[in-house]
Structures are given as structure tokens and as C-alpha cells.
Symmetry: D4
């Protein structure tokens, strides 16, 4: 049975390279899909791969690249960089949020958007955020990752006028395990104009930034 029919037209319609979601697919299923991409000379992005899946796939598709921390696999050439300037800034509260932040970064880079990643910007150490405020203000869009209570995008949205995409991360324990507290905290934010995507959805935050950049 041929389980997948690829819709290459959608990327023309909506302008995005649709990610292949690797988590609930077997290596065989992903391999079949990648084969079709290769045949069509299309750029592919697979997300949420374990190290084991990723390594098996790059042994099968030598032109592909596996990004271990983010669990992403890319195959084929990304788009040309539109600008030499880092238009999207991605902020994370710590090394635990890194994989999600990198999924966003890889997704944007593949679509020709340069990015800058600031690690260890969290609300518990406010001065680090304040020190970098001018640099952050120079960007066009900000993606703010946060787990735990997810307060970073709220604090940020009171300080800068840019579009800010809150990206909740499933880092936490007890009441905050799974990232739901971070998500709800961002939605409930008292700061006006903050928008939010699903927990751990680095690719989604990137595509939202792309839509904004293109508008």
C-alpha cells in the first residue's frame, strides 16, 4: 500500500516547506516519504526524530543532514537568504529549552531567514534581558521560548513594540510538567499583542514568523 501522497503544490500556495512530523511515523514510513522528495528534487524537513531514527535515515539518504539537539533532519537546498541581517531573534530561558529553539531556527534558515539565538535569557535574571534589549529591538520578529511559568514573553511584550511569538516549552515538573502552565501563562498575559503557538512547536513559531516577514 502506498501510504502517502505528497502535496508539493501547497508550498506554492502557502509558501512554506511543510515539515514531515517524525514522531508517530516509523523509519520505513519516513524513508518512503523522503524517497519521493528526493525523486522530485524537493527540499525536505523532518522534525521530532530520535537520535536512532535520525542516524538510520542519514545512512539511507547521504545528502540529508541530521541536527541532533533539535531532532531535525533536512534534505536538499534551503532557500537563498533574503537578507544579510538577522531579522528573527530567538530567545530561550536555558539549555533545557534549546531543542525547541533550534527547531525554530533550522526551520527559518531553511526558508531563507537569518536568525540570532540568545540563550539563558530568563525572567529570574532580569538584568541579562535588559542588557540585550537594544539588540532585541533591532529585530523584525521575536520568538520567545519559555518553560516553567512562561513569563518571558509577557515581560518582553511590555518592553518592545515588535511582533512577539510565545513558544511554550514542555520543560517543567509537577504542576508545570508538559508545558501547559507555560502555554496558559502566555495566553493569559497582561501584555497586549502577544501571540502563542502550541507547546514545543518550534516549526510552527518559525512559520508564523515567516508569514509575518512576508506580509
Amino acid at each position: 500500500m502506498d501510504e502517502s501522497i505528497i502535496d508539493f503544490q501547497r508550498r506554492n500556495r502557502v509558501g512554506v516547506i511543510e515539515a514531515i512530523w517524525g514522531e508517530h511515523k516509523s523509519i520505513e514510513q519516513i524513508s518512503k516519504i523522503l524517497g519521493k522528495y528526493q525523486l522530485a528534487s524537493e527540499t525536505a524537513l523532518v522534525t521530532r526524530l530520535t537520535k536512532e531514527k535520525g542516524e538510520k535515515l542519514i545512512s539511507e539518504f547521504p545528502s540529508a543532514e541530521f541536527h541532533e539537539i533539535s531532532g531535525c533532519l533536512t534534505m536538499g537546498r534551503g532557500k537563498e537568504y533574503i537578507s544579510s541581517f538577522e531579522e528573527v531573534i530567538i530567545l530561550t530561558g536555558g539549555t533545557s529549552d534549546l531543542s525547541v529553539a533550534l527547531e525554530a531556527e533550522i526551520s527559518l534558515n531553511l526558508h531563507g531567514i537569518k536568525t540570532k539565538l540568545f540563550i539563558d535569557i530568563g525572567v529570574a535574571g532580569l538584568h541579562r534581558l535588559l542588557e540585550r534589549l537594544e539588540e532585541i529591538k533591532s529585530s523584525k520578529v521575536v520568538i520567545a521560548c519559555a518553560g516553567m511559568e512562561g513569563a518571558l514573553p509577557t515581560v518582553l511584550a511590555g518592553l518592545i513594540p515588535q511582533p512577539i511569538i510565545g513558544l511554550p516549552v514542555s520543560v517543567g515538573y509537577g504542576i508545570s510538567s508538559g508545558g501547559k502552565t507555560a502555554l496558559e501563562g502566555m495566553l493569559a498575559s497582561c501584555a497586549p499583542g502577544l501571540v502563542v503557538v502550541n507547546i514545543d512547536n518550534g516549526y510552527g513559531a518559525a512559520m508564523a514568523a515567516l508569514r509575518i516577514m512576508s506580509s
Copy 2:
């Protein structure tokens, strides 16, 4: 006791007229705040007012205007329209979503952004959405309101490349009462790049659109 200190600097810093949230404040509290705005000749926007509160306030502040369906009160001059073109399109699934859609519209108009409102665009009657697709595509940002299962922004995000802000509405009953199903459906969307704000947060969706327009 003087209960409120207005932070007029924030609108310079972040560029937005911060809404006064009317729901949990007494008429006396709102009246005191509006008095300070009047004194400072600042434009004010109060949201989530009952008809009773709204009417009492405009009898006290004759220069204010009360928008009954949306529960919004505006006082003072809004910003000049930046463009003669309706850059933000607001879609609703039915008359029940209207108050939230109008809160978004009034908030944008006050900030100098022209808007267009399409009523009765819902996924159960797909052809009406398809008929207006070209017009929707001409906008810069789309705000898609939906209660119930909240599928409208998902369907839309597969059809157009613009930034789409999903605005869940607390219309529903049983499992969907309070708007949480619509919110979660939008967050869970399989369409890439959709962003979401809190349930019924028309003002927040508008301010997000404003941030995007200004970026």
C-alpha cells in the same frame, strides 16, 4: 485612596493604547481612571462593559462613545488612518461571535488601521469562504474568530500565505462552553504558522495585528 496610576509612557514605549479592562472594575473605579485620561487629553479604550456600565459612563463623559454590541467605550481621537486600504480582515463564523470581532475592529480603527469584517464565514459552509478567498488574500493580516470547534483558522491557513491570528470565542455549550475547545483546536492546528490569542481577546488580536503591521 488613589487606586490607579496611569502609565502613559507605555504607549510610547510599545506603541499601543492600553485598554482599560472594564469587567472586574466598578463604575467608580473606571470613572476615576477616565477622569485622568481626560485631564491628560489621552485617548482611552475601555473593554468588557455591560450596557448599564457603558451608559452610565457616557452620561458622565459626554465626549466618550459606547459601542453596545462589543461592550467597548472609546474616548478621545484615535490615530489618523495610515492607509486608505483595509489592511486587516476580520472573519467570524456567525452573529454570536460578533461582539468579539467588533472589539478587535474598534481597537484597530482607534490605532489608525482600516479593517473589513466578513460575517457568517464558517467551515460548515465552505463555499462562502471559498467565494471570498481572493478578497481575503488581498489583506495584510487576517483575524479569524471562531467558537465551537474553532476550525476556521485551520482551514484558512491551508489556503492563504498571510499571517493569521486565531481568535477563539466563548460561544458554545457542553464540551465547547467557554471557548476552550476552540482555543485548543487552534493551538493543535495541523496548518503551519497559525498563531493564537486568549479566548474572547479581541483587543489582544488587534494589538498583535498592529505589531505585525508596524514590523
Copy 3:
């Protein structure tokens, strides 16, 4: 201790081959039950088996067949096909939903109902759905599988007059992990007359279709 007493009369009373739910039973327990079915020359259907369990069981019961993707085991002859026509159409949004869709298909086939499976029909790529609408309309019952936000059955129910059974799938992450968002989105649907079964309940959706076919 003899732990299970098989109720073969129920299939006469209600007309269904009751599935043996394999997930919370040990291989020993399932094996004992299958032994009784074999003795009584009754057709058996076991669902939710891991590959390991499935393979051990077919080595014990050589007449049984194990369907790996769906985790189903069938033993004995199914009913004769009632019609040469595919009366039930099963739609899935992607390869990740396949195992649940196949559980529904195997269950229906075993009861003498022919089925047709459409893969990669999702709301994010609306045109694929619209292209197949006429074929879908020719069926008697539609089973629409969906994970994530679960919007497919809603969109479908606005387009066709047939009975549509929404089958939510536990594919998702963050807010949609476990399939609850898909389930609630289907229940909250603004499209009239959509019915829903439990998450991942392919067998249940099939039995609902069977009841409808027989009514």
C-alpha cells in the same frame, strides 16, 4: 483459575464479533481465550497487540493472521461480503493515523462489509478533499479519522449528507497529545449530525458503521 468465560451468544443478540482487547492482557491470557474460540470454531478479532505479542500468538495459532500496522490479529473466517460495493469509506489525514484507520477497516471486512481507504485527506490541503468529494458521496457511511485539531469530519459534514462517524486519533503533541483536542473538536462541531466515538477506537467506529448498515 479459569479467568474468562466467552459469551458467544452476544454476537447473535447484537450481531457483532466482539473484539478481544489485547492491550491490558498478558499473552497467556489472550492465548487461553483464543484457545476457546478455536475449540468453538468461532471467528476471533484481537486488537491493540504489540508486534511482539502478535508474533508469539500467530506462532501458537498458525491459522491466525497478524496485521502489524494496526496491531490486530484475526482468526477464523470472516463473514461473506454482503455487497461487491465499497459501502464504507474511511478517510485519514496522514500516515500517522493509519493504524487506527486500518483497525476500522479490518473490523468491517471481518463482518462482510467492503471498505475503501483514502489516505492523506486533511483540512490543511482542502483541494484533495474536494477532488474526491463525488467518490466519497457515493458511499453509505463515512468514517473520518483525525488527530491534531480534528477538523476533517466538521468540514466533511458541511459537504455531504451521509452518516459521518468522527474517529479522533491520539496523534499530536503539547495541547493535542493523546487525542483529546481532536475528540472535543469533533463533539463541538458546528456541523449538524456528526457523531463521535472514543479516541483511537477504530473497532468501535466500525461497529457503529455496521449497526447503521444493518438498520
Copy 4:
């Protein structure tokens, strides 16, 4: 502003008279919609009206009829009865479930389907259910309303082979208040082939029965 555009074509496409949901609409909004129906000589069904709203509307539209217990208003001629036989049987566990059961009944009658209503059929008094089993078995479709723990459809589905639509009712208190326990109990049912609609969705259950009758 003309807030509503009626989609009379949908009833041709899907074959149902779409209900006007009265709960979150003002009398003025409903009145405008009904006016358009009257003009087009179309049959209208409004659900979830309070007594006050219902009475004001029939004073405005004398040809309309208000059904107080169910909160439904009908205007215009329903379809001709297709059959002289009561093809759909509606069961309720008690007088508290009556309004939801009647919403289903009125909706079906309007579409030309005869119904029979059995009151006070609950699982706590099993013998009453067993006494009427033969009569229930003679129907084509059964709609089983239940609040509290919602066990009635489960018990029924083990006894009869027909399509059974579980209709959870928001009657209950403590853990069962709002009907969520009844809904989840029906979804979790161990009886194969039971389908479920949203809490209190009498109209939706009726439309599901209609789809089944027409298939």
C-alpha cells in the same frame, strides 16, 4: 449592519434544516434572521430559547410556535412524514432530561420523521428497560438520553443491534455537573458501536438519526 446572511442552499446540499442557535443571540438578532426566513418562505427552527425570548418572538411572528419545555421555536411547515411508523425511539432517564429529549423529537418531526418518546427508562430501574425491549427493538434508530453517570446507552447497546446515539444531558451535581461525566462514560463504553454527540445536543442527535435514516 446586516449581520447575517442565510445559507438556504446548505439544506439542499446536506439535506437538513439548520437550527438557529438562540442562546448567544439577542432577540433583535434572532428576529432579523427569522424575518429573512419568512420572506423566503423557509421553515425555521430556533433552539435554546428562554421562555422570555420565545414569547417575545411568537408575538412578533404569529405563525411560529414556541415549545416551552424544550426551548424550541418552529416556524413554517415541516416536511411530510415519510412513514406512518415511529422509526426513531427516544429514551430518557427522567423528567430532568426531558427538554433535551424534546429538542431531538421536535427536530426529527420537522424533518418528516415520526418518533416515540419513552420517559423514565433508566439503569437504576432495569426492569422498566427490559419490559420495553421488544418495542425498542422494532425501531430503526435509538437516541438514548442520560445525565449523571450516563450508563443507559451502554446497557442498551449490549441488548439491541440497532444504531444507538448516546445523548449526554447536563443534569447532575458535584462531579457530574455539566454532563461531562455522562459524555465521557458514553465515549468510554465497553459496548461496541455506540456513537455520541455533544452534551445537550438534542438537535445534533436528531440530525445524526436523520443521516442514518437517509443512508
Copy 5:
């Protein structure tokens, strides 16, 4: 560090052998505790042991007995049987509920209460319940185990006048996974006088029966 101080007086005060909960304790911790019991010649009951833990412990304490299906370990003599008659009847809906039912049975037997276990009594096959009703009625207390929608105790409570303890079981999937639907269904029961214990709490249900037997 001596991590545990055993309170042997409590069993005099309240009359129960307090179970040692094995799930969140290491083998070393349980072993230390059992050592103290052995020294004091006290009867011990450990619950929720994996096969691996259980087997290691009986190799260390040869006088102990490990009951694999229920995950219980008993050491030392139980109380003399108070009566030659099976005063407590335990009902289960299927082999998947067996481990919890056996935890209840072992706990009661250890306290000198004879029990009878009926397997495969579920609401989907009502006739099996009705066939055994007279025998069930002869008991003093009934413990009714159920997963999924948990309707068995409700149906039973409408048929017999004895104390019935609802014991929800964490068997299920989707909406019913973890046993919460069964628990809530029992609490919401429309049948008067049903009492409930925590999910999978076979020991707790047994101790409740013991309290009733002793009152």
C-alpha cells in the same frame, strides 16, 4: 539512616493490617521493612510489586508468598476465617480487571474473610449478571470492579440492597485511560447508596468491606 518506624499499634487501634505500598519503594527499602515485620512476627502485606521485585523479595524471605497477577506479597499467617461462608463477593468485568480484584481478595482473606470472585460480569452482557443475581444477593458486601465507563456498580445497586463498594480500574484508552471515567461514573451514579474508593485501590475496597463486616 533508618528510614522506617513501623506502627504495629495501629492495627490494634483500627483493626487492619496496614499494607506496605511497594510501588514507590526500592527493594532495599521494602526488604528493611519486611525484616522488622519478621523480627516482630507480624503478618505483612506488600502491594503493587513488579514480578522482578516480588521474586527478589521471596528469595530473601522464603516464608513469604508472591501472588504474581495481583502483584501482592504476603508474609506470616493471616487471621483465622471468621465464617465458613463467603461473605464478600467480588465482581469483575473481565480478565483485564483481574489484578485489582485479586488484590482485594488477598487482602480480605488475610483478615479472615472468605470471598468469592465472579469474573466476566459486565454490563455489556447483562444476562450473565442477572443469572447470578440470587447468589450475589446472598453475600454481605459486594465489591464491584469496573474500568471503561464503570457502569456495573450502578446497574447492580438498582438490583440488590447490600452495601456495594465501587472499585474503578485503570483499564481503558483514550478518554477512559487511567480509570478516571470509571471513577467519576461511579461517583455520579443515579443509584442510591453506592460508595467508591480510589482507582485500582483493591486493598482499600477490601478494608472498607472489613470495616462494614465488623460494624
Copy 6:
């Protein structure tokens, strides 16, 4: 339409006077039901009546008695007291729990069971509980009402060997509003053999005590 058929046989079968649940019924519906009870000379118990409903009903049925604090109405003679001794002790943590405690008391008295009510026994003032421990120990069954964190039954179950029925009360605010925290705290209790009924279910707790008394 005659909406209710009274099942007087159930009280013979199960031995309880089934309460008429007044909350979701109109005065007209309750009045019709009470009329049938009067005709059959049967004792009636209506629960969850507002003051307004209760007073209208006793003006219609002068032989009935309305108990304002508990919202209960009784009509007809209760059973003879079985014993001159107060066999069931009902404990409450404060005046806010009183209505639920009284519903339990009235229900038991009507069935011929004497009760004793201890007010203001809560865990925050442990000494009051300890002072009355001997008297509490002399009872056959204890019903322990508690809102907030619901710790009273847990503490009690460690001190006395009798059957204890935990009765959670919907008194609380914030996290404990609606009584769910009290309910879950009782179910999660570390004290063995505690059983629980639904929130505010005074009648249910009484019927559980009755079943125990009769066993």
C-alpha cells in the same frame, strides 16, 4: 403529557425511599410527582429545593414538611425507629457544611435510623475531635462531611475502626471551589478503608449508611 411514572417497587427491591431530585425540575413537575405519591399513600423525599420552591410546594401539600437549611421536603410517615440508639454519627467541619449534613440526617431519620450530629469538628482544631472520640467510637457508622481540603475523614479513619463514609461538600473558593479538592483528597486518602460519595450527596451517604446498617 404524563412525564413521570413512579417506580414504587424499587423501594421493595432495594429497600430505600428513592429521593426526588428537585434541582432540575420545575415546581409543576415536582407537584405532579408528589400528587402520585399522595394518591399511593407513599412517603416522599424531595431534595435540593430552593426556599421558594419548597414553600410553594408545602402550600400545595399541607401534609408535607419543608426543611429550609437542607432544602429537603418530606411527605408522609417515615419508618419506625429501629433502635433507640443513635447508630449513625454525622460530623461536620462548620456551619457552612450544615445543609449537606442535614440532608443526610433527614434521609436516615425517614428510614428509621437515629442519628447524632456533631458540628464544628474539623482538622484545624484537632482537640475537639479528640475530645469526642469515645462517643464517635460508640456509633455503628460515621458520615464525615468536609469541604476545603477534606482531611477530616482521613484523620478519623486512622483513629477508629468503624465504616466511615466521606462526604465532600462544595464549600471552598479558588482551587477548592465546587468541592472537587475535598472529593479527591478523600479518594486519595492514606487511611485504609475510607469510602466516598459524590460532592454534596447527603442523601447518597445516608443510603450507603442504611445499606451498611441492614447488612
Copy 7:
């Protein structure tokens, strides 16, 4: 029936004037309790009174004082101020949080603790917080009220070394309505050493501050 027995010894034992919780008590019940306090010449604090209840009670007890915004009633002399210095600082994010902040302030003042209240200190306007940081640092304990996403205590805990009590407020809408998001955000805080009380529990936060002041 005398429904309440006052435990005046507890205030000696634990050192606090226990609040009488007014929300779920009738005026008659509160009046009886206050009468006993008056007789014993004890200071009383009643919380969560509506304006109507409060005014009726002060007309009955002229020595009592009703604080309308906070819904508190005090009767009798509070303790002497321990210090002339405002040892506890209470911060609120806006006028909507005021009633809860004032409940905390009144409770502390009554126990002889001076307080200072800072209004309109929220994370969306960070500079106002930073401007007052030195003054806040001079206190012994800080109570930080916040609704919405509840980020204020988190930001604060990264800036000052004092004990900080997070007091979530039931101000919000959509996902944050009822204050649960604020509560969970505070519990999930990435800032070390933040403690939390129940939503709207101004009295509880005050008593926690009192315990700290006395330790």
C-alpha cells in the same frame, strides 16, 4: 439548634485570629457567631461578605466596621502595632486585584502588623517595579498579588532576597478566568523560594506573613 461552637483557644495555640468565612453562611448564621464573639469580648474578622450582608451586620453590631472593597468586617480592637515600621509590603498589578490585597492588609493590621500597599505594580510595566525596588527591599515580607498570568512574584523573586508570598487573584477571562493560570504560574516559577497560597486568599497570605514575622 446551636450551630457553632467557637474555639477561642486556637488563637492562643496558633496565635491567629481565625477569620469567619462569610461566603457560604447566611446573615443569621454570621450574626449568631458574632454575638458569641461580642459576649466573649473577642476581636472578630469576617471575610467575603457582599455589600448587602456587610451593611445588615453593621446595623446589628454598631461597634463593627465594614470594609466595602475587600468585603471584610472587623469587630473589636486589633492587636497593638508591634513596630512603627511597615514590615509587610503588599503589591498589586491593578485596581482589579485591590479587594484581595485589602483583605490581606486588614488581616495584618488587625494582628498588629503595619503594611504598605503598592498599587499598579505589574510586569507589563516593568519600570514601575524597578523604581520602587529599594523601598520594597526594605520590608521584611512581601505579598505579591497577581491575576492573569501571575508573573509578578516570579520577576520579583529574582530581584530581592526576602520571603515572597505569591497571592493569585481570580481576575482574568478565557483561559485565565478564576485565577488558576496565575496560581499555576506562581507554583511553576523558575525563581527559587517563592511560596504560594490559594486563589484570592488574602487572609491566608496575611497569616503566612504573620507566622514568618513571629518566627
Copy 8:
């Protein structure tokens, strides 16, 4: 990429050694961070390490110490003990809560605070608590760990005047699994002045005690 920038100034600002949260970090990531601490001669505390991670890290950092039961690693000298007296008492209900209690103890010891740990103090065996009450009263701060229903801090707060920090533990099953019932029970407590931290947050409870000790 250098993923972490250590903020050693924060410990001066707020006075705490910030824990490195080991759960969502790889050994490589933790190792890099510890290297920087070693270089800066700063004391480090890593929490939530598996045995495997802990052992690998001490083989790399021989000066570090791994505390297996608590999953904590400490490196470098802690602060001098401020007092020879055990100022903080930590209570646990059983050996299953031990790891969380030890995380609190190690964290306090590292900051120069002596502690005393009482094991097996639970509400089901009240006399053990009462026997040690005098000793508990002699402390400055009490940390009360509890899983299941979490009643221990509530009972304690009615008996002693000190600050009590409720520390919910993720020990439980069914309704109490994950520790949420314990957390909510503590928040809902009827005892005034109890404060709470996140589930399993031993380090957080310790830092709260430290803030109190320093105030």
C-alpha cells in the same frame, strides 16, 4: 556553541545558590556547566539526576558528591553553619517521600542551615505526630512533605504557630498520581497561614525556608 552563561551575580543579589536542574539536560550539558563552576571555584548543586547520570558526573568531577536517594549532586564547599541548632525541621509521611525531603535537606545544609528530618510522620498515625509536637515546636520553620491526600501540613498548621511550608510529593496512584491532589489539598487547607510550593520541589521549599530564616 556555548549553550550556557552562568549568572554568579544572582547568588549575591538574592542570596541563594541556584540549583542546576538536571532532569532535562544531557550529561554533556551538565558537565559543561559544572566545568564553569569548577573554574570559578563556585559551589554547585545539581538536582533530579538519575543514578546513571550522577555516577558519570562524579567520575568526571571527583570533588563532587552524589546523593543517590535524592538524586542530588553537590560540588564545592557549602556555607558555614550559621547556628549549631537545627532550625528547620522536615517531616515526611513515609519512605516514599524521602527523596524529596532529602533534596530539601541537602539544599538547606549547603546554605549553612542545620536541619532535622522526621520520617513516618503521617496523619493516618496521629499519635506519632502528637508525640513529637514539642520538638517540632522548637524549630523556626517546618517543611511538611506529603503525597496522597496531603493532609499533614493542614493538621500541623492547627497545632503550631511557626511558618509551615507544604511540600506536595508525587507519590500516589489513581486520582492522586502525580501529586496534584496533595498540592490542591494543601492550597485548599482550612488551616490559616500555610504556604505551598510546586510538587516535588524540595529545593524550592528549602530556598523559601532560607528566605524566612534570613528575614
